[in-house]
Assembly symmetry: C2
Amino acid sequence: MTTTTGDQALIKRMNTAIVLEAILRAEPLSRAKISEMTGLNKATVSSLVQDLIDNRLVREIGTGVSSGGRKPVLLEFIDTAGYAVGIDLGVNYLRGVLTDLRGAIVAEKKLALATPDPDNTFNVLRPFIQSLIDEAPDGPFGVVGIGVGVPGLVDRGGSVLYAPNMGWRDVPLKEALDRTFGIPVLIDNEANVGALGEQKFGIGRGISNMIYVSVGIGIGTGLILHRSLYKGASGFSGELGHLSVEAHGKPCRCGNRGCWELYASEQALLDRAGELGYPQDLDALLAAAESGDAKLRKLLEEIGEYLGVGISNIVNVFNPNAVIIGNRMSKAQPWLEEAVRRTVEQRALGFHLRNVHLLYAELGDRSAVMGAAELAIAAFFDRLKAA
Amino acid sequence: MTTTTGDQALIKRMNTAIVLEAILRAEPLSRAKISEMTGLNKATVSSLVQDLIDNRLVREIGTGVSSGGRKPVLLEFIDTAGYAVGIDLGVNYLRGVLTDLRGAIVAEKKLALATPDPDNTFNVLRPFIQSLIDEAPDGPFGVVGIGVGVPGLVDRGGSVLYAPNMGWRDVPLKEALDRTFGIPVLIDNEANVGALGEQKFGIGRGISNMIYVSVGIGIGTGLILHRSLYKGASGFSGELGHLSVEAHGKPCRCGNRGCWELYASEQALLDRAGELGYPQDLDALLAAAESGDAKLRKLLEEIGEYLGVGISNIVNVFNPNAVIIGNRMSKAQPWLEEAVRRTVEQRALGFHLRNVHLLYAELGDRSAVMGAAELAIAAFFDRLKAA
DNA sequence: GTTTGTTTGTCTATTCAATAAACAAAGTTG
DNA sequence: CAACTTTGTTTATTGAATAGACAAACAAAC
């Protein structure tokens, strides 16, 4: 069985985490305020804060204004106690950030990727990550981890089981990076890290139940339920792009028929635009729509309707607080918004509509890379709580 | 903020729960074995067990066989320390059980319901519940709660917001029963309690991630994720019956089009059988299929295929360990099974298929009523842990 | 300037749960 | 019977949280 049994060390870890979270949430903060907010005794807070200061996670930044008595000593979290690397591994690009522990970007790089095969990718990725690590200022914890978002199925062990657009199968990405860098490496699906990015740093800040819909060449989804990323039985889930919305529709390479992404993705738009003689380029199409091309606007509206069909399903299934449309198609927001909203309002159950917001990614093409960094940051905090 | 801070009482509650769960899982059990299983010190276990004995939840039942030393004193959970009432409130029937704390049925009743309007239902339901309570033997905790499953949307406050088949809107069911009986009342959707019933007592015992598909007149679903019932933002979710599987299909009264339940429910079967001149009765149809009616078998196969379409979606979205088909249509298992399996294998993603089992409810028409009782039992144990 | 009351943060003594170690009781095995 | 095992209790110790006392620092009223 070996359940985690309770002892005094557990109490201390829990309460330390509570104190740290209070500081993170509302800094700068005095010990007295923390005691008041958390319900912990003043003496307890003092002792735990001292530990945090000794561990270089928190520091005193001088006194605040008095409210009729002794001045409070204000505390703040030391954002720069450590740094995290976030990587967005795309089919033909590599995007990376170095952030501090609060997610502020310290350095950012982008690189074109010639061929996506695993060997070439490794050869480019390794020096790319190293160059980000080299940018990290000194700090007590150094670089605390590397998070990577990948366009494919990732298992719990950090292996990429299947990434069709990159031609990968069973690539032990985490293992390879673990060995090279010797710091914690976290791998997850692109849509999952995108969801995390928007939930932590973007438009979805603090929302408990939200679905991030990554609309690019295909459609991927990241499910945040009860404030944390939902993974299914095998660690991968949320393939809502392959939700069938036309039981007898077009066959999909996944084996199913009428998959949502066949009707509502960037690829669907490009295909249909191609049939009408337009160039196969999203930016060009959006520029044309901008300049008033009615046929194109109509086409975008139809794509929006199909997005709305799938989103209605999502709303009925998950009853989330928000659905966030992200990735490349979020650029088309002005031409999609109205059709999506209208379709969802028509189709989703009334009771579910009450609390749901239809949002568009705020971080743009940074959703994934920021979420990847957050993976590493969250893992660092988890280690603190555990040890 | 008021996070639950850690103190020694919390530890004691946690460890007491661990000890109790160990006994529940593997009784009869000695103190020494519990210590070994849980990692808790022998002295700690002795002390906690004494508390449980004092609280009349556990008792010594004599000595076991020695393995070369002093004989162990075996402990067991006192199932009959308390009792729970479970109610399955149907459109035209009322089903109830009285169970002990382990879910063993002590008494069971069924009743036809003439008219489902709220007033009449209350007038029948109250004495029905009272008669079950009256059956409860004496025990230190008496009847610890009443769980009710309802065919409709239930909010967190236990009000039935909308139950179309019963014609209910905003009926404060929990409040009404609370006042009458003065013991904890838990209300939830029929599919949710069905899921709970199968997960606790039926074919889904111990499965972490499972989806229960209640196929009756409509289709309802109960989502058990990470071992617990998933509720969405507003407390109701899992309306997978209204997942659109034909974006431009038949209009549904919910406002959407092509909803799954229009193609795969008992009603869908009855409608199509009616067109072919069959009687509108499930049992009659199944009897005909049994006696070899080929046209009917073909029809059931088509229903099975549509069930498979929706289940493929479920598998792709949730990557669960199991999908359980329950409620009335589970009786049609022999005629559906093959078509469902074939369709899911064709349509669901290969990686997701690896760990998923397609199962049929084991408790038959008792899934819901047993799950309702479990609601009350689980709430009782939660109270123990909290206080 | 003095007094009064407030606020902050530390210190001290106490409580309580878990634990290791010692121990007694009750058993097996040769 | 002697030697060893197993079970469950007792005892002394550890450590985390807490209440309450306390000193320092301050504002506001007089």
